[in-house]
Amino acid sequence: MIDVMLLLIIVVCAIFALFMKDLLSATIILGIYSFIMATIFTRLNAVDVAFTEASVGAGITSVLMIAALSRTKRYEYHYTKLQRRKPSALFLKVISLLLVIITGAVLVYGTIDMPEFGDPEAPANKHVSPRYIAESEHETSEKNIVTAVLAGYRGYDTLGETTVIFTAGICVILLLRRRINT
């Protein structure tokens, strides 16, 4: 029951974040969305992911967004009725709505073939992970399987992730440095 309630709250949060004209409120609601998503992750027993989502997803993203908003504009441009009724604007809206509905329909069609929620016989739960669950303590002497896989078996993945963060940091520094006028 609580799962359904949380999912309802998250859909409402997403709708409000997207239709808010005040971008600061939209950012705060995005933070709430991330945090409730972390709660759902905890309900689904993904505790490590919930930690990361609550601290990095809800925390740092909100801080970055607010920092960016403080240097740009807080309010979205308010289009008048005449501007909204222009054929080009309506065309854009209709086309994007159509595209999104087609995408959603295709995805729902693909969901029909998916294994049921929580099915232990699903192919995703059958192949690699049983070995991790059976052998990880013996091979890495680590109780938490997620940590063992993250830092042991898939250490190169984590190295790639660190490279991505490093590159992103360099990008942000290069983009935001102040040029000295000579």
Binding site: L30, T72, Y132, K143
Partner: protein, 141 residues
């Protein structure tokens, strides 16, 4: 009819993921405000995380931390993949926001329409300058 009810009962997580994905994609395409686009992308990304984590759930499973023999554990592999993906999504957001700050410095606006109008004005001004230069040259010769 019973089929549809069964479908919703067993796969409601996936349906919510698809709904959130559609909301995020719609904003990313149709909004003209660049920060709104980033918010849409974020909602899209987080819904994909929920999709992976929902796939990892096993009935009567506990969190994948070893504590007793004979306990069913959830699938730890999607958790690891999503741990990586969360951090990557934050770094892409940071780069996008830095680009937006630079765009605001250059054009004074973060609306697509305003940026396009400013570009057009700049082009016209350049053309005028060129014509002036041509006239000056013709008067010299």
């Amino acid at each position: 009819m019973i089929d549809i009810i069964h479908f919703i009962q067993t796969k409601y997580y996936y349906l919510v993921v698809i709904l959130l994905m559609m909301l995020g994609l719609y904003t990313t395409i149709s909004s003209r405000n660049l920060i709104k686009k980033i918010i849409g992308i974020n909602i899209f990304q987080i819904s994909v995380f929920l999709f992976y984590i929902a796939m990892a759930k096993v009935k009567h499973g506990t969190a994948p931390i070893l504590w007793d023999k004979g306990v069913v554990y959830d699938n730890p592999l999607p958790h690891v993949l999503i741990l990586t993906a969360i951090v990557v999504s934050v770094s892409t957001t940071a780069v996008a926001l830095a680009l937006i700050i630079n765009i605001h410095k250059e054009y004074g606006t973060i609306e697509e329409d305003g940026i396009l109008a400013k570009q057009k004005l700049d082009e016209e001004w350049m053309n005028l300058e060129k014509q002036k230069l041509d006239i000056d040259r013709s008067s010299v010769t």
